[in-house]
Symmetry: C2
Subunit: 181 residues, 2 copies
């Protein structure tokens, strides 16, 4: 453990993190939820909001794909995105939906800096982010896609978007943290 610079659960909880909150709205597969927990752990992100009928820990299928990250990553349940967003706005977060929509920002052009708090919403595997939720958010982010399906698995999409945030801020809180370990 120590050789690889891995954090313990306690160290993770108290570590300074990238100010990124992931909002999972009505995710059908608890396996996908678990995978997102694992990604949030790997990239040292702030928190996950689980919204609507998205499964919450403790949950057998989340456990199977989160591999313990559901113990380290902070999470909170909300009935609706409206309630989640009220809290996020009070805490100073800008809120973006990941969705293919008119006027959406292509992911590579996002230019996020880790001095700004950001929340990213991922929606249902079939229907995507709810229209009412998109209207409540500050904008949409789109992953450019060229193929036959124009859709990524939601856990894969989360990995892609969250990496884009982290990669541009490697000298931010994450790598400072890493130096401290």
């Amino acid at each position: 453990m120590e050789e690889l610079g891995r954090l313990t659960v306690e160290e993770f909880r108290t570590a300074s993190k990238f100010p990124v909150v992931i909002v999972l709205e009505n995710i059908r597969s608890a396996y996908n939820v678990g995978s997102v927990f694992r990604t949030a752990d790997a990239f040292l992100l702030q928190k996950i909001h689980l919204v609507g009928f998205t499964a919450t820990p403790p949950h057998k299928e989340i456990c199977k794909t989160a591999l313990g990250a559901e113990e380290s990553v902070e999470w909170q349940y909300f009935k609706t995105c409206r309630e989640s967003f009220e809290q996020l706005r009070a805490e100073g977060y800008k809120i973006y939906s990941v969705e293919q929509a008119k006027g959406s920002t292509e992911l590579q052009n996002l230019g996020w800096s880790s001095e700004q708090k950001i929340a990213i919403i991922f929606g249902n595997e079939v229907s995507g982010v709810e229209q009412s939720t998109i209207l409540l958010s500050d904008g949409c982010i789109e992953i450019p896609q060229y193929g036959m399906k124009h859709s990524l698995n939601v856990a894969t999409a989360a990995g892609v978007v969250l990496w884009e945030l982290v990669r541009g801020n490697m000298n931010g809180s994450g790598s400072n943290l890493l130096e401290k370990i």
Copy 2:
């Protein structure tokens, strides 16, 4: 379909693609294989090599997560990475393993240009890329990770690495292709 600029299976097969081959070595979960097919479709990648005990189409679980991408994305089965690499080298590919190893290149520093052919190997969910396979490849790529687990789901890791390749080459074959549609 047309409105979103999606390709048909036939258009996808004949479209000019990013010269990226994904090599999946001994992947345990056919669901993960299917997710990678879907990502390869979305990012318009060249081909997938399925190696060792990695499942191959037609397969119920691949089908469930690939959502048709197993019909559009070209694939080939190899018993060993040695055989896969012989073909790749003959075709002019550089070969990189995704693995945390001494001297590995951090993903954000890869600086790949789409004028170069590249193959990326993802290994088993538990044991990673085989040591013998790492030795046969031209180098290792590492996704910087800060958390408790230091590991991403393999389909998520594939999404992250492949996005890094595509994002730096948005004016390459992919976006030219998009303009043609």
